[in-house]
């Protein structure tokens, strides 16, 4: 599944694919078609303020929970979304889009 999502000054095509998972919750990978080069040193604070269940932040990845999903976010904008309920690409895409919005300095 792909969708054009606004980020910064442009629209970026983003993909969601289901990873190996079964049952009512699913695991997904969300991937922008080009690297977003997120600067975690600049966005982590605002992410922490907006995401209540923040787990960890390093220069290389952020880990937090959004809805039921366990999120691993990388500087490219790639995300691993685990335990997405219901296990639908559409839901994973919505979560990915919401996270990009939170990470977008221009929209905050």
């Amino acid at each position: 599944m792909k969708k054009s999502i606004a980020f910064g000054n442009k629209n970026i095509e983003c993909f969601a694919i289901q990873l190996c998972s079964y049952g009512e919750s699913g695991d997904f990978e969300f991937m922008p078609s080009e690297s977003l080069q997120l600067k975690f040193d600049e966005i982590t604070q605002q992410m922490k303020e907006k995401v209540p269940n923040f787990r960890n932040a390093t220069e290389r990845f952020l880990m937090f929970q959004l809805r039921e999903a366990q999120v691993t976010l990388y500087p490219s904008g790639r995300m691993i979304l685990e335990n997405v309920k219901p296990a639908q690409k559409q839901i994973a895409m919505e979560i990915g889009e919401k996270i990009l919005k939170l990470a977008d300095l221009k929209s905050n």
Binding site: L19, C20, S21, Y22, D27, E29, R55, N56, T58, R60, F61, M63, Q70, T72, Y74, R78, I80, E82, N83
Partner: protein
């Protein structure tokens, strides 16, 4: 070391800096295999069989040669090898081709890949055949008594993987074959995971059928094979008939060929078969001594390092394990896909995560509901790569 370096030079993705620990999903492809496929399309691109021009003749000869090499690789005869897409298709060919009778039973195991499990569930449902499932212990290891109990006079087929794609464990196929044959049953071996790691002789294994995939043994995707013992070939119906399978066709009837080609309806994957033959050439050039020695060394390093880390759960036998260079594990408080993506992002290390197409095993035996991380190595991997892998998983544990 120079031998190892020269081997690594044969794999483009290694030269590009990937640490490839996902060999149980698909192995890397040496340049000689890619070259053979390219040569076919560039120099010999004809369809096989019966044409009278030089390109079809060459293609036919190379295809025949590929069948011979594949047969020799497992000590079978040339007319016992059917080329198909992969081990999954090979197993399905058999599942669809056996003349099942209501009341027959099939014996399989809870450790199987879905490809050697789901087709038998379908046979059960379509033909009123009983499916008996041998249950391993919590480490995924079998007691032969489990098979002995399950196999009866009504067992038509016993089917097992030689090597588990999740645990890397090597099953006692020869002993299972004896149990099956004592009751008049046939034995199918899913050798998708064992072919890259172990020299195989179908007579020594005692199997009647054996399924393999080219892409797990350095070959291209889309090519695999099924070994069928010569004397059983007329007991099995082909999966697809049509072009290439026919002795004669009249207005209202057809006669199939008496040769192995009766199982290969339509134009086969000629380039794939040639690529598989090139992969076999490559494996034979490297040699089983080197491959097996390297396998033993790599899995020892991997197991030893994982065992030292108390935050790691290893699946399968931990003590005195007999397995190929493949280990499934989990890191405390970190789900498998997260671990796999972190290894990729931080170390360019490719591992597999999830259930590895073996849900009955991961759910009911390993109790790994979110799946596992699987590191599967091959002879081109290095101990240094394993050390790098450990550095990253230590970091993941500390930071997740």
């Amino acid at each position: 070391m120079s031998e190892q370096n020269s081997i690594r030079d044969d794999f483009t993705l290694i030269k590009k800096g990937y640490t490839y620990f996902d060999n149980a999903a698909t192995s890397l492809t040496p340049v000689s295999v890619i070259q053979r496929i390219s040569d076919y399309y560039n120099c010999h691109n004809g369809n096989v069989s019966r044409g009278a021009h030089q390109l079809t003749r060459n293609a036919s000869l190379y295809y025949q040669d590929a069948r011979q090499k594949t047969a020799r690789f497992i000590d079978a005869k040339e007319d016992e090898i059917i080329f198909c897409r992969n081990a999954t298709e090979a197993i399905n060919l058999l599942a669809q081709g056996i003349d099942w009778k209501a009341g027959d039973n099939i014996v399989t195991t809870l450790v199987e890949h879905h490809s050697n499990y789901v087709p038998w569930l379908r046979v059960r449902d379509r033909h009123q055949v009983e499916l008996r499932i041998a249950q391993p212990n919590r480490e995924g290891v079998f007691d032969l008594g489990d098979f002995k109990k399950a196999i009866s006079d009504r067992t038509k087929l016993v089917t097992t993987g030689q090597v588990s794609n999740v645990l890397g464990t090597v099953n006692p196929v020869r002993e299972i074959a004896d149990l099956a044959h004592n009751k008049g049953a046939w034995l199918l071996v899913d050798a998708a995971q064992s072919l890259p790691h172990l020299p195989i002789d179908v007579d020594d294994l005692g199997c009647d059928f054996l399924a393999g995939s080219g892409h797990k043994m350095l070959g291209p995707t889309g090519i695999g094979f099924l070994f069928i013992k010569k004397e059983l070939q007329y007991s099995i119906q082909p999966l697809a008939i049509g072009g290439g399978t026919i002795h004669d066709v009249a207005r209202d009837r057809y006669d199939l060929l008496n040769s192995i080609e009766r199982f290969e309806g339509g134009t086969p994957h000629i380039a794939g078969a040639l690529g598989l033959a090139a992969a076999i050439d490559y494996i034979e050039k490297i040699g089983w001594d080197f491959i097996c020695k390297k396998d033993t060394q790599l899995v020892a390093n991997l197991e030893e390092g994982l065992k030292k880390r108390d935050y790691v759960t290893i699946y399968g036998p931990v003590e005195n394990s007999k397995r190929v260079s493949l280990v499934s594990f989990n890191i405390e408080n970190c789900r498998p896909h997260r671990v796999a993506s972190l290894l990729d992002e931080m170390g360019k290390i490719m591992v597999r995560s999830g259930h590895h197409c073996a849900l009955p095993l991961t759910k009911y035996v390993l109790n790994a509901t979110a799946g596992t991380v699987r590191a599967s190595l091959y002879f081109y991997n290095l101990s240094d790569e394993i050390e790098h892998f450990f550095d990253i998983i230590d970091f993941i544990h500390t930071n997740s």
